[in-house]
Symmetry: D2
């Protein structure tokens, strides 16, 4: 693993929206981080002033990290929260204003919220896929007069889709892709999906999810075009569904390539891909961002979701598609790779590439 | 409901493979049928000679119909089973030989097995969709020298897919269709899927299912071409998955039409479709073979599977598809509409159209 | 079924708290009731003024009864709600005051809330078990100066426990009973239990449930003692648990009898019991309040919960107990027999026994 | 951790019945064991001769340990299997004869099968609870003329019950105990419970389980009486149930003590108990055999089953019992603490106490 760009002392970081499901995942990852020190937790006014342990309905099978349990929850305001790096797990209802305030106050904001994802001057980044999109930050600072910055990770299902699409896009180009998802209940946060709605059931609808997946896949696979990110020109249609699974989003895809390829080339491309070099060896980088499952009936959420400590997307059933060129199944941990882990990795990438200036 | 073509006395019928999950569904439907009298049950040698109640691990929430419980299980042989109409829920390992023996012995065989489905002179029929495919029976008799006949219903997921595709094919023509399924565990029979494999999980693989769905959809939507059925020329790709749901297969589809249509026309076409006239008013016909769900998050297996006593396919989320023309979700009861109910309806159709001659 | 004590015209009734899970069950039962006409629905201020369809997240697999869907939701106040019979599915936070106001206004209040259940002058009634407890209403009217009345049904798990205990108490007397429950998620209302908490899990704690079960069982099995109900003197200990089941509370019990009995006598007593005569033949009475399951592995929630349209408690595995005398398993539908159906049956009982005076 | 009694070289061990669910757990534990070397795997004739990878439907979320994957499966016969220590995960149908043959051939047999558990000269051991029961092995050798020995672990639910009962028995004595279980599907092996039977359901019956739990608890808590183990004289009644949970048996208990104790003493006793000294510091010993959960709604299977790498029993809700003295909930990992881990720990205990002689 690479040495910390900050030398021997850890950089203080904060989590906004720290009491929710994704916020808790940030806490779990940052409590043991080699470069960052989780110094502050912030949440809604309702929680502010209480200890993190009191304010939080902790939903994991572990304990709240003891040091964090005792932190006093702060309001989500840059005057209260002083850390130079801020991870946002805020709801979209409040994220827009709060994140802008932090960027304006000179902080690096790593956001899991949807609010800024599709802005042309806001990078939507998967570290292994499109680290060069961070170059648009210069334009962002100029356009918005923000001494800080906002960098977003994507929708949890979009990220699981993009990781196997990226090597195919890089090598063959993608013309069209069909996507159908089976998404875990933890993707809806906590309390999220009522058990009466999902026990023994499937819900073929997740509000606003399909347009998000469609738009974000195009942006992730797009390219920097001067001051802005231009979407990839591929066609995409998504069907998104909720299934009674705890963690792990399954993504079924049929992919039409621009340059024809036989199945063996596709499999080789997927199995050899290691992602962008600048994303290798970071503290949250998995050994491999993509792993191909051997068994014909994998990946499966309960069995594969924790691959690479939740940062590896497992791909299986790569086969010829009778309509397009190739079809496959991908599984990603929606809370780790699809949310908190993605943002932490992005922060590491920014730090490692000199994009975070400490005061 | 139409009067019985057999007049006031019921016609004796038999169920082959009566002890399994689909066999039990046949028993349930036929025990109260207005035209047919369930006179004989047959199963493997292991069960033969015992009472149906002893031989069967009944899996419903009801009781075995008392009269059937006392029937002695017969071997699956036309010398033992004497009924002129025979419903087959046999495993494909034995169905091929057994069903042929019954057809050779002059019986009308309504089969749920896959063995003969793709033979060009064997009708694969959904009563409301392609009743005219029964006309190929004449060629079947001639080709095979069978005084009887074999008529098949399709794979449970294929049937749920075809019902909403049929009106679109009839009015607009279908060029291409993407299909992704989320299928209930009862589709694998009993004991079928181990709970350790599926609790809180999804399995993205069902052996042999995808080619079956792809081939059968083309045949269902095909046309009679003299002595044989010719497949529809549409392109199709299927992703099939198992989910922790008791009954009801969900089918997600993106459809490319031959003749362009706006969304309103598609919705109108689906909502007005009543199926072939000869299939209306039969004892097992639902009021409507297709129903459009109002709510944005329906159909759902647990809430909609029993629509039309399991014979109605519920369709929802009809919307524009960014790649093809339209996408939608369909739900069918895999055991009723997708298996036993389909065969019973086919038998009623044959009887009502004079295709069953009694000895 | 008995003729309506009100003659040919139906009596208007209201449901308070009509939008919640139990309120919806009341609506379902009362929409088709032969004696009562569901004339009014009431709920919190937030819902009042909207149509019932707009105000309600309907959670069944059926449609809202069309006539009810159009009713305007009223505030829970006797000045707005005019029906002489009022069913209360109110939360305990508001039920205390609201129900008293209705009783004071002369209405018969059939309450599912816990607030008054343990008052000595408020009958806690299962129609087949302790209809005579209604005699305490005279004292209630006197004590409280209520021209109306409050009659309560019990906790959903307590009711499922009491139905098999009642015949044993009546014939042998009960000295002690151990109770362990496995309760469905619908017992917590909607949205109730978060799927993240219960998928593939068991929660061994339901707030306030154990004391409720222990106290209510004693009161149900107690007797009227002049102006008050005196608890049965039996000992009882309850363990209550939540399991990932949609509907149906399972109750495991070990029972020590006062008068020794052999197993055959116990089984005979349970199987022959039909409940109090005045509760027979009412519109909501099941054919049999208790049914003994034949199979060794029954009752099971998914398979037996709807017995007697949800009003029959299914009992199984009646066997000798190595410590006490007998042990058994009982299953009751928590929403029907354990809540809405219980109150409707109580109202029918009151009407049939002349305890409801119309204005 | 204690040093190996065998010095620096590992002792070869074998697993009988290595392909099943418990056999796989043995493989997982022994593949990385500091004292033992998993040298041989054996299974039924059907599997013998194939590689372990080919013969096994591996059900974990990990990979088969690579070295074990390549082992050739042997028949379950002491002429083929040569290891001096043998772990048996055999079905009871074959365990009786096979295990005796190994004992006769001088091997130490650590058995998970039920066949010999209740023999008075066969120790039924939980290392932390009754290590002294191993002293009966001398009599076993004499009685049966076995140069080797059979030592059994118990039923998975019995073990989870005994761990919290043991400190109470030691300090206060136990007069009576009520037990109700909610057991995971993995307790039935693989494929085990059919998903159609258990999804959204509870099955209140596990064949032969209740008498096993009742008898084994008495033996575990009994004492050596010369040449035999004499059961504890406590009364016990068990209700055993299957629930839709992957791993982890929940055990609800109401306990009547011989010597009265207040709740604080009971809680202190449970929280301070560390088990028998000879069982401490063994490779498979957890830090603590019992842990008291803090939260009022714990333990829960999904959240607590892996405590102490599956070897810790988590206890919660210790409270006064209205009928007996105290009630509580315990959770144990049925495959680890309740099966394979228990036997491995027993083998370590035997080795550490000089009860295994190598050839």
């Amino acid at each position: 693993m690479r040495p910390s760009p900050f030398g021997s002392s850890k950089v203080p970081v904060a989590v906004l929206g720290a009491t929710g499901a994704v916020g808790q995942a940030f806490v779990r990852l940052l409590a043991v981080h080699p470069w960052f020190e989780l110094a502050e937790v912030a949440a809604s006014e309702r929680s502010a002033g209480r200890s993190y342990a009191e304010a939080t309905r902790w939903i994991g099978d572990d304990e709240i990290p003891p040091r964090v349990a005792q932190l006093t929850v702060l309001p989500c305001d840059p005057r209260s929260v002083r850390s130079p790096i801020v991870f946002s797990a805020l709801d979209s209802g409040v994220a827009g204003e709060a994140e802008a305030a932090f960027a304006k106050a000179g902080r690096a904001v790593l956001s899991n919220a949807k609010n800024y994802r599709m802005e042309p001057d806001v990078p939507l980044v998967i570290a292994e896929v499109n680290p060069d999109h961070l170059d648009v930050l210069e334009a962002q600072r100029k356009n918005r007069d923000w001494p800080g910055a906002i960098v977003t990770n994507g929708n949890c299902a979009a990220i699981a889709a993009v990781l196997p699409l990226a090597p195919l896009q890089q090598r063959f180009g993608i013309r069209n892709v069909f996507v159908a998802t089976m998404q875990a209940v933890s993707g809806a946060g906590y309390p999220g999906v009522a058990s009466l709605d999902i026990l023994g059931n499937v819900i073929p609808f997740i509000r606003d999810e399909e347009p998000k997946v469609e738009a974000e896949v195009r942006k992730f696979l797009g390219h920097r075009d001067g001051d802005r990110i231009t979407d990839a020109s591929l066609g995409i249609s998504a069907h998104t569904n909720r299934v009674p699974v705890e963690h792990g989003h399954m993504v079924l895809m049929s992919v039409q390539l621009q340059k024809k390829a036989d199945l063996a080339e596709v499999i080789q491309t997927l199995s050899q891909w290691r992602g962008a070099e600048e994303a290798c060896g970071l503290p949250s980088s998995p050994d491999r961002p993509l792993v191909l499952a051997d068994a014909v009936d994998r990946p499966q959420p309960r069995r594969d979701v924790d691959a690479g400590r939740g940062m590896t997307v497992t791909v299986g059933r790569v086969r010829e598609d009778p309509l397009f060129d190739v079809k496959l199944v991908a599984l990603g941990h929606n809370i780790i790779r699809g949310a908190a882990g993605a943002s932490v990795l992005n922060a590491e990438l920014m730090a490692a590439t000199g994009r975070i200036e400490l005061p």
